[in-house]
Symmetry: C2
Subunit: 407 residues, 2 copies
């Protein structure tokens, strides 16, 4: 039986007529190698952002249901165009909206979750040896409304389809050549990683490496579906994300992520009573504010400072809620610091090498980089530093863990 | 019970953010007057043409199924944007694709016919006092594919919805103020017509007056649904198209149409045998070529010339088929003349006034305008003239039948 390949092409890969044509060529090369191919496409270039900005000109707070009606058109357009490009080259193909192939979601517009995928229509067309093109990023809700899956949702469409169809592999085509040991725009010695585990990828994604949508990787992990992240502009192999196997060598650290997307809030002079931290973070949670790192200083005379980081997008709301809490519990001022960055080292290998954290801290200390906050997980260590020192920190750690030496 | 109004806004009426806002204001004025409103919208400005031209860059002969996938997005976008504009002004509204409201069509892509409209979902939303916005020009076929209804198809969506919902009236908003006695860009004395019968409108439409889609008017006639054609840029009343009633006064001629969209083909030296004309026009029909006017010259020595007009769009195909026929039946050369125009006078009144045709011909003759072909129906007379004389002919006839004197 021929292999079933699901390919996803991002917005930059279908940004114009010429690039759509190139995608068609690549798809056909797979068909010629006796693969059955399902293609998921994003909207062309910046279409989605342009549609959102058009909507906001009409209504600064557009209804999410209508926003989904609007932005789902972007992927429908690129799907139809890719079908036409394949036809021109003599390749039989058919495009579908998320609704038509039965990508059933819940009813949360602009951030819907996939509940089920009906594969009947796709399988019928594959049997006719057609390339099946599916508009990414969208589905149809249980009450028959058009929904979208949130930023990066086309990744999720592709992975979920690949799992439902029991595909052999899912290829994610993007404008970078794969996952790197660090952002190559900052660390010029950064190396492309050939293989990475699901857990490492999830850790990198949640700490600022935005090559793939986190939820999509989670689904792939659950179904143990290998993902090949690669560039649509070259034929080079990219990075395969897969289950940990003996085949994957284990360096101490796989890669380093950097994010400038968070801000630090400090509530000063918090009375250090049992349950006070719980009170603060429960309140923030009820306001739907996701807290990342938390640091509580040593208490002096039963008074302490509590700092935490939140995404910059919710900083306004987080400060407002923090001030209310501070007043209620008799704490002091609320300080905001947007001038921070977070550097994270990630690798399943670090579990078996004691002293990785110490090595990380002392490498930074040696270069006089002050660490303001620390958090660790089984396979990662994150340090908050001054924003101005973020690039230096990234380079220091990249060198310390010899990521430039990976062949 | 409040009145149910179906309104259709054409591409120029929703061409940009400001105009969409104006449409929202107009819709709200109807809601405030206790009307229930269903709005059908076309794609913004030239969106449809732009999408088609994008498709042709990728594939000069795009599949019609994929073309429908592509171009149906235009109306989806304008529908969602209009809903957002209404929300902003505090008016409850919801947009739907043709597929979502159940505009069921046959399977002929890019020119589908409406088979049925399921009104359940619209009625439910109207009961909740919502303005229901429907993407025009599109439907869903009996085999679950997205279809479009052909040029001017949004008119048909609106009329068909109005009939299915038993609306009190259907308003067609466009960029002209109504139907005129002649094209006001050519005849400056042309007057806006207040009332016109379905038959007159159909006759005008089929003879070059392109304010409304012909099929849409036919459906309205069948269901006896009054149509109000008017401008979205003024509050002035436009033209009401309705059944003939004593209320409508009957001038001899209601209006004059002009088209330059046809070409004349002549097959020379056709052997004049019984059945030869049938042979020619059956052959053309099997190639899907619509013939408009036909003239056969008096036969000399059993040889005659046969001329007919076809739309310029199919001229290439028509000439090819004509040459094949000519060869087969032993006729002579095939001549093409694109340098013609057709002027038609239309009016239900002409039935009761004998001599209208004579008056028409002699008015043109008096101004030395040669008539090359003539065809007549119960309520119209069409004359083919040299293209260079079309404007003069239009003005002569407008004056002869005193259309400038209509109050």
């Amino acid at each position: 039986m021929s292999k079933l390949v699901v390919q996803k092409y991002g917005g930059s890969s279908v940004a114009n007529v010429e690039r759509i044509d190139n995608v068609a060529k690549r798809v056909i090369s797979y068909v010629k190698n006796n693969n059955r191919v399902v293609v998921v496409v994003s909207a062309m270039g910046d279409t989605t952002d342009e549609l959102i900005s058009l909507a906001k000109k009409i209504n600064p707070y557009p209804s999410e249901r209508e926003l989904d009606m609007l932005i789902s058109t972007g992927e429908q357009i690129s799907s139809a165009l890719l079908a036409m490009a394949l036809h021109k080259k003599g390749c039989d193909a058919i495009s579908f909206t998320g609704s038509q192939v039965g990508i059933i979601t819940d009813t949360y517009h602009t951030k819907a979750k996939i509940l089920k995928i009906e594969t009947k229509r796709i399988k019928e067309e594959l049997k006719k040896r057609k390339v099946v093109i599916v508009a990414g990023f969208q589905g149809i809700s249980t009450n028959q409304e058009i929904t979208t899956l949130g930023r990066g949702g086309s990744d999720l469409s592709a992975i979920a389809l690949a799992c439902a169809l029991e595909a052999d592999i899912c290829e994610i085509y993007t404008d970078v050549e794969g996952i790197y040991t660090a952002d190559p725009r900052i660390v010029k010695e950064a190396k492309k990683i050939d293989y990475i585990t699901f857990d490492e990828m999830l850790e990198l994604a949640s700490r600022g490496v935005q090559v793939m949508q986190t939820r999509a990787v989670e689904v792939a992990k659950k179904f143990n579906l290998p993902i090949h992240v690669r560039s649509s502009f070259t034929k080079k192999e990219g990075t395969v994300i897969m289950k940990k196997t003996s085949f994957i060598e284990e360096p101490v650290v796989r890669g380093i992520a950097l994010t400038e997307n968070e801000a630090k809030i400090t509530i000063c002079n918090v009375p250090d009573r049992p349950g006070i931290a719980a009170k603060i973070f429960t309140k923030l949670a009820t306001h739907n504010i996701n807290v990342d790192m938390i640091v509580q200083n040593v208490s002096h005379r039963n008074i302490t400072d509590i700092s935490f980081t939140v995404a910059k997008g919710v900083i306004h709301k987080a400060v407002k809620v923090s001030k209310e809490i501070a007043k209620k519990i008799g704490a002091g001022k609320v300080l905001v610091d947007e001038n921070i960055a977070k550097v994270s080292i990630v690798g399943v290998g670090m579990k078996s090498y004691p002293g990785v954290a110490a090595r990380c801290f002392s490498a930074l200390a040696k270069r006089k980089i002050n660490i303001e906050m620390i958090s660790t997980s089984e396979i990662s260590i994150s340090c908050v530093v001054r924003k101005g020192e973020r690039k230096k920190a990234l380079k220091v750690l990249h060198k310390e863990f010899q990521l430039d030496k990976i062949k």
